[in-house]
Each structure stands twice: as C-alpha cells, then as structure tokens.
C-alpha cells in the first residue's frame, strides 16, 4: 500500500498545525473543509435530530471528505457525562452503515490520559521512528501556539481598526505564512511576520473598546463557522472578545490547568460536575466579572445539557456578580441575522449601562 490518506474535522485555525503534523508523520493529508451550508445539510441529514450542532457539522465534514477515501480519521475524545464522549464512536458507526470503513483514532489531552496518548501516537506514527514522531509533535505544538497567539492579537486589533476588514485580511495573510512554515525556525519567523502584518493595520488607539468574555462549549467556541464568526462580529462592533478555550490550553488540561481553576471558582454556585464545559462556563463568568470585564457571551449548542445547566445559573450570576450575560444557543435553525441583532443589542446595552 502506498501513502496512507488521513483527515480530521476542521476546528478553527488548528487545522494548519494538524496538517503539518500528519504530513511529518508520513501521511497524505486530505484538507478538512471549512464548514459551510452544504456540510451542515449533509450532517443534519444523517444525524439523529437531537444531536448537537458540533456532532452534525463534524459528521457532515466526514461525509464530504469520505469521497476522497481517507484511510484514517483522527478525532478528539470527549469527557465525562456529556454525549460528546460517544460522538466519535457514533460517527464511526454512521459511516460504517453508509458503507465507509476508515480507521478512527481518538485522542484525549495528553496530561489527562498520558498512557493512552502515547499508545495513540504509536498507532498513528506508523513507520516513522518514535523520536521523529515526538519532534514532529513538538513542532506542531509550536505552530499551534503561534496560531493562537496571532489570533488573540487579531482580536485586540480588530476592535480598534480604522477600516473595516483590514485586520481580517492581515490575519489571513498571517495564516498563510504559518501554513507554509515547516521548520521550528521558520515557524518562529512566520509568526513574527504575521504579527508584523497585524501591527501594520491602522488603528485608532483613542477608541474605547469593550472587553467581552466568551464562555461555553469547546467546538462552538473554536470553530468560527459554527458560531457565526462571533469574534469578528464583536470586533466590528469595537469589542475585544476573550475566549476561554484555545486548543493550546485545552490540550494542557490537567489538575492544574485553567479549566480546573474555573471549576474551583464555580464550586460555590455549581458544586456538581455536569459534564462538558458546564461547570467551567459558570466559573469563567465569575472570574470575568472579578477581572472587571464588561460582559460575557455564553455559546452553547442547542440541546447541550451541560450548557443548559450553566445557562439556568446565568440570571443569578449576572445579578450577583453584576456582569451582563448573553446566552446564544446555536443549531442549524439559528439565523445569522438573529445573532447579529442580539449581539448588537447586547453591546448597546453595555454601552448605555456604562454611560450612566
């Protein structure tokens, strides 16, 4: 057999890092498509009606790439009593029923399940030596960190940009630099070039911007196509979004990481683990308020139990911690216009509250 073909689901900018990793491990990478209307309808067609939007989009993406006959699909595993833990397996079965049998490899954050992680790497690395695989992994990690870094910078700049769209344009150029960079030193250079590109965007430093925290489920936070590009939307309304989940902090999930701290903060309000990112969302709202943020947007897939539990606490938290919270439930029925209206009214409301 020749070179194996591998693919995975698109999730924000991380696709660029995974692409490089799998190429380094000797695979031919089938580029994961950016979720669009077509992918969503494919996913909706073959998913259970009450599955959440991440499930549907990811399934739709697999169905779209399956035509290219991937041998391996890599996916993230879920945690705890949230349905997402079964989703990888469900995806595999649905594909099987439709007559496709790619191998699935599920990954969990390395610090949570270290043995499992290395077993999976072993399975994935194929003929590559273990040392080379580790070097490739480290390089991919560097790229992931660089991607997150320029994304965070783009959020800060977009809220202050003088001409609409300049930041997004510069950010996309930066992404192409990083995509082309294949060695540790070129990744560093590409990152610096991307930062430089963003710094060149003309900004109005006098403009007063709002700082909006973003909490909620991981997939709808990380994939802009799933959350109506909410970070760009906020940026265009002169607000800086501060996401709580980045793949680089999620992958470092451990007893000492950010989400564990958030859960500790959430304890007085929600002592139970409710699965998914529910407890974390609650803790994050509390810490955003303590840090003096102007508001919080909770992103939740429709029918997502952990986020529903968290949402029911939001009116209380909002009052108690004195911070405005807007919850957006996302599913295939959600319309762009509705999201825009709500976010715009939310930003208006915060600005008026502060004027008084």
């Amino acid at each position: 057999m020749g070179i194996k073909k591998i693919t995975f689901a698109h999730m924000g900018t991380s696709a660029l890092a995974f692409k490089m990793l799998f190429q380094d491990l000797g695979y031919e990478v089938i580029n994961p498509p950016v979720p669009d209307k077509h992918i969503l309808s494919l996913g909706v067609k073959y998913s259970p009606e009450f599955a959440c939007i991440p499930f549907k989009i990811v399934l739709g993406s697999y169905l779209k790439i399956i035509e290219n006959n991937p041998h391996v699909i890599v996916s993230a595993g879920g945690f705890g009593p949230c349905r997402a833990g079964y989703y990888g397996e469900m995806h595999r079965r649905i594909l099987n029923e439709l007559g496709y049998n790619p191998d699935f490899i599920f990954f969990w954050p390395p610090l949570k399940k270290p043995l499992n992680f290395f077993k999976k790497i072993y399975q994935l690395k194929d003929k590559t030596s273990f040392i080379s695989a580790m070097i490739a992994l480290k390089r991919a990690w560097k790229k992931l960190k660089a991607l997150d870094q320029i994304e965070i910078l783009s959020h800060k700049i977009r809220a202050r940009e003088k001409n609409h769209g300049m930041t997004t344009y510069a950010f996309h150029r930066g992404l192409t630099y990083l995509d082309e960079a294949r060695t540790t030193s070129s990744i560093r250079e590409a990152r610096e070039a991307a930062v430089e590109e963003l710094r060149k965007v003309p900004v109005d430093n006098q403009r007063s911007v709002l700082n909006i925290g973003i909490v909620g489920e991981i997939y709808v936070q990380l994939e802009p196509a799933a959350n109506f590009h909410i970070e760009e939307l906020l940026g265009n309304m002169t607000a800086v979004p501060h996401r709580t989940i980045f793949l680089t902090n999620f992958a470092r999930k451990s007893p000492f990481s950010h989400d564990s701290k958030a859960k500790k903060i959430a304890k007085p309000f929600l002592p139970e683990m409710v699965g998914g990112h529910g407890q974390q969302s609650v803790g994050d709202v509390v810490s955003f308020s303590q840090q003096g943020y102007d508001g919080v947007i909770q992103l939740a897939p429709f029918t997502c139990i952990p986020e529903i539990v968290a949402k029911s606490l939001m009116p209380y938290l909002s009052k108690r911690m004195n911070i405005p919270v807007l919850t957006l439930f996302i599913d295939e029925q959600t319309g762009q216009a509705g999201v825009e209206t709500r976010v715009e009214a939310f930003i208006d409301m915060i600005q008026q509250r502060q004027k008084d």
Partner: protein, 329 residues
C-alpha cells in the same frame, strides 16, 4: 421646522414615524411589508412627501430599525441604523420614563426588555418558536373567519377559557380545532388561545427575570385586548398599552435619529423622492478564499449604492467611497 424620521422595517409591517423637534408624532404610517422592504419604504416616503407638501417641514435626520434595517438604511441614507431592541426601549422610556418592563410582540418575533432607572439591563428574544406572534394570530383569525381586530373583544366575552396547548403553534392549532369539534364556544376558545400564547411567551422569555411595574405592552399584537388581559392575569399587574403601540420601534428610531444628528451636525438623508428610482439587490458568492462569502450588491438605477457580506472587507474596500455612511451599524 425640523422633522425626524424613524423607519422600522419588519417581517410583517413597515412603520414610518415623523417626529417634530419636540418629539411629538406628526405622521405615523403602518404599512404591510409584503416581502418587499424597499418597495414598502418607497411607498411610505411617497405618502409622507404628499402629506408634507407645503407644510415647511424639513427632514433633519433619519434612522432605520427592524430586520431590514441595514437595507433600508442604505436606501434612504440613514444617519444611524439601530437594532429593534434598543429602538423599542428608547421609545418605551420616552412615553413612560418610569418603565421597568417592556413586552413587545411583533409579526414574527417577541421580545422582553428589562429596564431599570431608564437603562436597559437585560433582554430576551424568542429563538426557536414563533407561537404567539402576529403571524400566528393572523393565520388563526383567517381560519376562524374573524377579522384579527375583533379577536381580542371576542375573547373578553368568555367566562370560562378552555386550556389550549400553546407550546407549539402547529399543535396549538390542532388543539383549537379539537376543542371546536368538542363544541366549546368561540369566545372560550379564543380566550384560551390568548392565555396559552401568554404562557408560551412567559415560559420562553421571562424565566428568571423580574418583571416589575410599570409594564408596557407594545408591537402590533398589543392591539389585541385578549392578550393584554391574559398578561394582566398572568402577571397580576396592570399592563399599559401606549397609544402608538404599533409604531413604537419607529418612534424609538426617530428619537435616536434626532440625537445622532445633534452630535453629527447634518443628515445623510437622500430625500423623499425615492419612488422615482429603481432599486435592486443582487448577490454572488466570492470564491477568493475558502470562506465563500455571499456578497450583496444594492443598485439604484444600475449605480452601485452599497455592498456588504465579505468578511475580509475586500469588496467593501473597493466600494468604499459609497459606503461611508453605512459602515458601522
């Protein structure tokens, strides 16, 4: 004399209000949008231009709101484009400065706005369900062959409202048919429907929110005394329906226009003679990058008037000189 226009283009109706400098309503129009927002705005402005002839009133500012706010804003040359939640809140605070709760039910959406000390502190908008909005009531009125205006009066005649399942508009309809077949009187069924829709609204939007008096009820559905009555019973509070309840969004927009122009100094209004022009909207998919944005072009007599939809801004940059007024909404 100065006049300020507020234009609220919604799914069902297009409302236009003209205020004078003292925020008094000079003209208010309530037109059906009929799926053609540009035409509705053109017709409305035509009507206003006829009514204004010889009065010496100059349009000194204009703002648009409602679901077609951006499109309407480009067509008329709006000084500002505001979302409908803010517009409704501004109008409510204007007619009742002490207001703490605003219930707004329009053609296809419903909103709840919580206000404290004249500032919006919280809001909710229906997401998954349009039961209880104007379109549904319209539909039921047609089915029962009663003019929708008489709906509320009929419900007040009921002494014993039946319980209708109001969770979903389709099931509400089948439940109503079922109750009709069982032989309940029409007023009891209609009163039951009003209660069911009120329940649906409160369950969907008001969970965990503190609805304090004074409560204002606005939007087209506020004309229905049956729903107002059901709200008063459910909340155990007096519910006030302002005189101009059906055009509150437009009033709010006109007030916002007045403030904006005060800060800005001049208006971008393109004049009342819009009906002489031909407008059309076109869209295409940009294949420049994997985002595949849908770009929308608005033309006035074959001249590009506005363009939006590209995330990277490249199409907007190109049309920059015409877009200056509608850039920030």
């Amino acid at each position: 004399m100065k006049g300020f226009l507020g234009i609220d283009v919604g799914s069902v109706s297009t409302n236009i209000v003209l205020l004078n400098d003292h925020k008094e309503v000079l003209i208010s129009l309530y037109l059906r949008t009929k799926g053609n927002p540009i035409k509705a705005v053109q017709d409305g402005l035509q009507d206003i231009s006829v009514q204004l002839a010889g009065t010496g009133i100059d349009i000194a500012g204009v703002a648009t709101t409602g679901s077609a706010r951006r499109l309407a804003g480009v067509v008329v040359g709006a000084d500002t484009v505001k979302n409908e939640i803010t517009s409704h809140a501004v109008a409510a605070i204007f007619v009742q400065p002490e207001v703490q709760t605003v219930i707004e039910i329009g053609g296809q959406d419903s909103k709840l706005i919580i206000i404290r000390n004249g500032v919006v502190v919280d809001f909710a908008m229906n997401t998954v369900c349009a039961a209880g909005t104007g379109s549904f009531l319209d539909h039921q009125a047609v089915r029962l062959q009663i003019p929708v205006e008489e709906f509320g009066q009929l419900s007040l005649q009921s002494n014993n409202p039946v319980r209708i399942a109001g969770r979903c508009s389709v099931f509400a309809e089948s439940d109503m048919i079922h109750k009709q077949q069982m032989g309940y009187s029409l007023p009891d069924i209609i009163a039951g429907l009003c209660e069911a829709l009120t329940r649906n609204y409160l369950n969907n939007l008001a969970k965990g929110k503190d609805l304090k008096s004074p409560v204002l009820f606005q939007g087209g559905v506020a004309a229905n005394v049956g729903i107002k009555d059901a709200f008063e019973k459910a909340l155990d509070k007096q519910v006030l329906v302002p005189e101009d309840h059906h055009v509150m969004g437009a009033i709010g927009a006109a007030i916002i226009a007045r403030e904006t122009v005060k800060n800005k100094g001049s208006t971008d209004f393109k004049g009342l003679e819009l009906s002489e022009f031909f407008y059309r909207a076109e869209s295409f998919e940009c294949n420049h990058c994997p985002n595949i944005c849908e770009i929308i072009n608005i033309f006035r007599d074959d001249v590009l008037l506005a363009r939006w939809g590209s995330r990277c801004g490249r199409w907007e940059q190109e049309a920059h000189h015409i877009l200056t007024s509608s850039k920030r909404w």
